[in-house]
Amino acid sequence: MAKKDIKKALKDFWFGKPHSGEEGGRRLGELYEDKTGLLKHREWRGVKDTFYYMYMIWGYNYVHMVTDILKYSNNPIDFFKGTWRYRWMGQTYLPVIHWFERGLQGMRGEALAASAWHYRAMVSASIQQICNFFNADTRLHGGKQNDAYRHTIYANETTCGTMFYPFMDAGYRYLPIEMIPYFVTCHVNSHTVLNYIDAVQSLGLPGDPCPMCQAEAGIFVLDDVPDSSPMVITCNEACDASVSTSTLQDWFADKPLFALPIPMQFDDPLVKKYCMKEIEDCWKFIEEQTGSPFSWESMVKRLEKQNKLQRDEWEKWEVASKTDYYPINGVAQALFRIFSTQYGIQGDFWDEASEKVKKIMYKCVEKKIKPFPKTRHRVIAWSCAPLYFSNWCTWAYNCWGLNCIINMDSLMFDMEIRTDSYEHMLEDMATYHMWAPMRRMAVGGMHHIFELWEYMERFNCDMVAMYDQLQCKGMQGVHGLFEDEFRKRDIKAFWIPHALPDCRTVSRAEIRRQINDYMTTVMHEEPLDPSLLDFDDSMTW
């Protein structure tokens, strides 16, 4: 072997292969097994990052998955019983480390460490919810309604956790019905949700409404919802299809139910007043069902923590918008934010992760470390993302140098909730509730969907990744308006067609092809890693 080759081999061993399309660059696409997306072997990221990944991400998270179960479960045996009983649990949560792998592929140094802390917090929050389900589930306890059951409040996953803070000091827990059985499963193992979509259609219900609503109803149709709460609070999520889901949930759950709608057009002050009244009615409903009164102290205590998390996020956004030193990748940013704002403060995991990330971020700022050195374009992602391919931005950075700086899901709850008086708190709560996922900047009216331009400027982005949820009637209606505006404003934008959870409608390979086409035919650019252009991962999780 020539001296030059030995030197290169040693350099690759110590630092990992360079992120480059040239000979000798890392070729991440060649690591995949055909179709399954499993890895022939994991990437060698250099000595430091490979062993950081092995001990601090792979090993650390395996160990903490076990300690989280011991921490949150009243009886760990219930966890195994639940795994055996519920498909969304057994089929989904075992491959969770592979979810990390997909989101963190190719990351190095600070980007690898910081993004992984966001994932860690999400796994911890998920295990807490799973344990809350199983601790209270009458099906796992011989039909007995235990104390955990009586202290659990079921609500639709887009009813923000903030709503339930007043009852938490008295020991009540908010449990979003679909967040774990539906939302998180799609990210971790996209196979599971297909059973639930097909279940609804097998009843003769139409296949063209939003597949999210179909899947959420399908969990009930397949009798796969734990019986863990004496009451249910539903909401219309973002659209009419969800209203039908709520009707089916009312039928199948067969429990006292309060419908807490999210207004469709939320700029009207009268609508806001109506919403404030609805929230108070919801609290009254919970008081009646639980016998526990609204507690202002309990509310304020958690709101202060939530506000602190929001201020942390503003700090991070400041760095993300004005510098190249922000260490969180696109998928870790989006999922952490939507998960934490929806689930709310029910533990310290969000705050702990946020503090760790801030520490890494300020290290990058002080030492001028660019965590994404191959960035060619700063991208803002807009509208609702494909849940089965939320890690597209990791792929896009590795393949094309497209760095997804921020996304719509992160920006929805861009506010603090005042705690100086009940009236201010209620007013802000109404705004927070109305700014729900898929509503604030998606189905919430033309003024709000076009906030894109302001955020694009604020975050110093030069390109838009525009999600195109093919089964969302609301967003399909504004497709042409965006096309016109992109042309008029001379904005570089590519579309990502998808069907939210259903990977059969638009495959991951098709999404990649669309981006590849845009980057070659419109941008005339060469890939950073040509091995990632085209590969078959049709059977992957």
């Binding site: 890895l39 022939k40 092995m54 498909r87 057994g90 075992l94 009843l203 039928w251």
Partner: protein, 68 residues
């Protein structure tokens, strides 16, 4: 060699072997392969074969609870 020295040598050997084994599992994605090829198909079969309540046979009692 004194007893303590032997003990630490053994301990080091065991730790090294465990770490080497873990590295092989980690690097070659053996955990992923086991879950994808063995555990998931087994669990899928179990869930597919599971008897489930036919929820649509359940009556929709619209007036069962008071109005909220």
């Amino acid at each position: 060699m004194c007893k303590i020295g032997k003990f630490f040598l053994k301990l080091f050997g065991v730790l090294f072997a465990v770490n080497a084994l873990l590295f092989v599992v980690f690097f070659f994605d053996l955990d992923g392969k086991l879950l994808f090829n063995v555990v998931e198909p087994f669990l899928k079969k179990h869930y597919d074969d599971m008897e489930r309540k036919d929820v649509i046979k359940q009556p929709y009692d619209m007036n069962k609870f008071p109005k909220y």
